[in-house]
Structures are given as structure tokens and as C-alpha cells.
């Protein structure tokens, strides 16, 4: 008998539509849709995709409980042997949705879940300990590489075969430690590593240290009425015409714009962000960067001053390395300008 796979995709891969459909409530189709079709073929008759759940990325993230209730009911009804979600590549909202489904399915139904994501997708951290997350490229161009790896792992999991190490199988390490037999004892392996290091040779640690890079909360503002507050956004709000040509995805730079003479952004600003429906932000960009309200607070004396410039970039698909660089550069300017506090909005 063929094993049963239930597939989860977003509105885009579910072939419903782009950002304009990101608010769609989940739907179930009793067929393989989008990547589920290719995936089905890769199961080579051993298993079968019995249906596809399609949900808008915004809907899932904004109405998680409602979305999950629908999705979990379908899964309970269809009783698949395994659930496959994505791959989400570097799409953050899609990754968080796949992670949300994965966590609920594993925790509540004890059904295994396979997904696929780019390493920097926030969904990875959110579910890698529960689901098997295949390491993918950062865009859908990596679909053809991702699906066979996901299909292979799916088959192994359903058959109860033991998965190999993450780098052998192509998934992101789950942070689990397993007992394995080594040919050489620990002291010898350690000395060999040390010698390799001293000789400038290559060596591989057996216990990578987790990175805990936390920044302690900065002290609070003592007196708001004397404070200068700056606005920063990853929502891609720029002056009409995008004079600095900030990218609409995978940003390579940020911009700063003088708002000292303005009461609101509305009128001369719009969004170039490629990761959300721009209709609402284009109509009233203050819906993303609340300059209008902050200026009123300045007039009323609630705050001392709105900093003359606001800073902006696009958050979608932007690498952690670039985001770190932008933050360091923007922070330096704000520090030198004597800014007392920052409001950063994200879409």
C-alpha cells in the first residue's frame, strides 16, 4: 500500500496568486498542486500526495489559531503518514507558516513533518528541532535541487529508516546529539585536531558551540519630553521615484530621508518592498512609518523631537549579513546624532 502524504503550500506555490492573495484563508484540494506535483513524482509510486492545503502567508501569520484549526482538522480527517510543507526558501512569512504547521502537527498528532528552507529563514529556528528541514537555496530557483532531497528523507521517515547525519542527508542540524561508534578514542581525535590546527590544516569540531548573540536591553529613556526619537523601517518606504534605487528584495543598501519639514509621509512617499501587498502603504505610508503621529507628539511636547531623518530599507529576502551591516551603519549615525530612542517598524 502506498503511504499518504499531505502537502502544505502558500498562495503563491498553490498557484492562487501573488501578494494580492496573501490574505487568503486556508483551502484544501484533493490533488497535488504546485511543488506537490513534482514531489509526488519523486515518490516513485511508493507514496502518494493525497491532497494540498493552500493558505495565504499573511492569513496564516495574522490569524494563526484560525488557520491552524482548519489545517489540523484536515490532517486529522485525512490521516496522512507524513506532512510535507514548502520548500519556503528564504520567504520569511512562508517559512514561519511552514514552521507553525510543523510544530502543531508533530506536537499534537505525532505525525512526522518534512520541510525545506534557506538557512537564514526565521522558520528554521522556529521548527528545526521538531521537523526535518532540508537546506535549500534562497530562492525558488533551487526547487529542483530541494524536492528530491525532501522526497528521499520523506521515504526514509515513513519506512522508519534511520536518517544519516545532517550533512549526508541534506537537512539542517536539529541540535540533537547521537551516540556513534568512532574508530579512534576521544583523546586521540582531540590531539589530531589540535595538531591539524597548529599546522594550519583543516579540522572539524565534533561539538560546534551554539552562538548566543544577545544584546542586553539598553537603558530606558528617562524623560520622553526631552528625547529625540528616530524612525527606522524595513518596510521599504521611500520617496516617490525611489531616488536611491533601494532594491525591492534582498536589499544591498539603506536610505535616509529628511522629514524635518514634513507632518506626514503621505503624499510623497510609497513602498518599494517586494514582499507584501503595497496598496495600503502606498495610499498612506504612515501606516508603515508613523511619522504623522510622532510629529503630533512632538508638537504636544510628549517627546522632545522627531529626528530629522528617517532610515529605510527592504526586509524581504535581505541576508542577515546585510541586515547586520545596515544596523551597524545606521546605529552609528544615530548614536553620533545623539538620538535617544528608536522606533523600528517591520512589515
Amino acid at each position: 500500500m502506498k503511504f499518504k502524504v499531505l502537502y502544505y503550500v502558500n498562495q503563491f506555490f498553490g498557484q492562487v496568486g501573488g501578494e494580492d492573495k496573501a490574505g487568503m484563508a486556508p483551502e484544501f484540494k484533493e490533488e497535488a498542486v504546485g511543488p506537490a506535483m513534482g514531489f509526488n513524482g519523486l515518490l516513485q509510486g511508493e507514496g502518494e500526495v493525497i491532497g494540498t492545503i493552500i493558505c495565504g502567508d499573511n492569513f496564516f501569520n495574522e490569524n494563526k489559531e484560525e488557520a491552524l484549526e482548519f489545517i489540523m482538522n484536515i490532517i486529522k480527517e485525512k490521516q496522512p503518514d507524513i506532512v510535507v510543507a514548502g520548500p519556503a526558501f528564504n520567504a520569511g512569512r512562508y517559512g514561519m507558516a511552514c514552521a507553525g504547521v510543523a510544530k502543531a502537527v508533530v506536537d499534537e498528532l505525532n505525525i512526522p513533518v518534512v520541510s525545506g528552507m534557506y538557512e537564514e529563514n526565521p522558520g528554521v529556528e522556529a521548527c528545526k528541532s521538531k521537523a526535518i528541514v532540508v537546506k535549500t537555496a534562497d530562492s525558488a530557483a533551487g526547487m529542483r535541487e530541494a524536492l528530491p532531497v525532501m522526497a528521499n528523507i520523506t521515504k526514509k521517515l515513513v519506512k522508519g529508516e534511520e536518517l544519516g547525519l545532517p550533512e549526508e542527508e541534506g537537512y539542517i542540524p536539529q541540535g540533537k546529539r547521537l551516540t556513534v561508534f568512532a574508530e579512534k578514542r576521544g583523546s586521540q581525535r582531540a590531539v589530531e585536531m589540535l595538531l591539524a590546527r597548529l599546522n594550519g590544516g583543516e579540522f572539524k569540531t565534533e561539538l560546534p558551540m551554539p552562538e548566543f548573540d544577545k544584546v542586553d536591553p539598553a537603558p530606558a529613556i528617562k524623560d520622553l519630553s526631552k528625547a529625540t526619537i528616530a524612525l527606522v523601517t524595513s518596510g521599504g518606504i521611500v520617496p516617490n521615484g525611489n531616488p536611491d534605487r533601494i532594491q525591492s528584495a534582498s536589499a544591498q543598501k539603506w536610505g535616509k530621508y529628511d522629514v524635518s519639514q514634513r507632518d506626514a509621509l503621505t503624499g510623497e512617499y510609497y513602498t518599494i518592498h517586494g514582499g507584501y501587498d503595497p496598496v495600503y502603504a502606498n495610499e498612506i505610508p504612515d501606516r508603515v512609518v508613523p511619522l504623522d503621529v510622532l510629529k503630533e507628539f512632538e508638537k504636544e511636547g510628549v517627546i522632545g523631537k522627531v529626528y530629522d531623518y528617517f532610515y529605510t530599507t527592504t526586509g524581504t529576502g535581505t541576508s542577515v549579513a546585510n541586515a547586520t551591516k545596515f544596523g551597524t551603519e545606521i546605529g552609528k549615525e544615530l548614536k553620533e546624532a545623539g538620538v535617544d530612542g528608536v522606533i523600528l517598524t517591520s512589515t
Binding site: 496573501a22 499573511n58 501569520n61 495574522e62 512569512r93 514561519m96 526565521p122 529556528e125 522556529a126 548573540d213 544577545k214 544584546v215 542586553d216 536591553p217 539598553a218 537603558p219 530606558a220 529613556i221 528617562k222 520622553l224 528625547a227 526619537i229 527606522v232 524595513s234 518596510g235 507584501y276 501587498d277 503595497p278 495600503y280 502603504a281 504612515d286 501606516r287 508603515v288 512609518v289 508613523p290 504623522d292 503621529v293 510622532l294 503630533e296 507628539f297 517627546i303 530599507t313 547586520t324 545596515f326 544596523g327 551597524t328 545606521i330 546605529g331 552609528k332 544615530l334 548614536k335 538620538v339 535617544d340 530612542g341 528608536v342 522606533i343 523600528l344 517598524t345 517591520s346 512589515t347
Partner: protein, 75 residues
């Protein structure tokens, strides 16, 4: 970006809808917002109501900036 700006010792508040991402990127002061395409707005409301909503959210952000915290906190 939030973390790197805070590294300079400037308090920063993250206003975002997917607050699980705020937490995972290391934001300490977090204000949950309305929706992804309009975090501090709601096109379903009248202009006045929407402005009041934005005012409330921004007030919350200012409160976050002026509140001492020890760990990641939602406002």
C-alpha cells in the same frame, strides 16, 4: 538591524506583526502590530479611527522606550 542599533546603547522598540520573528532576531522591546501590509494602520477603519489606532500603538512604543526591562518584553 534592531540588535545592532541597540548595541550602541540606544533603546529601540520593534513594532511588528510576526512577533516570533522579533524575538528570534533579538528585539528586547516589542510592540505587536495590526497586519503585515499595514503594521500601524487599518484601512477598514475610518480615517479618524485609524489615526487614533496609530496613536495608541505609537504611544505604546514610547512607553516601551521609557520602561526599564531586563529581558525581551511585549508592550
Amino acid at each position: 538591524m534592531v540588535k545592532e542599533i541597540e548595541r550602541y546603547g540606544i533603546p529601540i522598540v520593534h513594532m511588528a506583526t510576526i512577533t516570533t520573528i522579533s524575538e528570534s532576531v533579538g528585539a528586547n522591546r516589542i510592540v505587536p502590530t495590526i497586519a503585515i501590509p499595514h503594521p500601524v494602520g487599518n484601512p477598514d477603519l475610518s480615517k479618524e479611527e485609524e489615526y487614533t489606532l496609530r496613536k495608541k500603538l505609537t504611544e505604546r512604543a514610547l512607553k516601551a522606550l521609557s520602561t526599564e526591562i531586563e529581558e525581551a518584553t511585549h508592550f
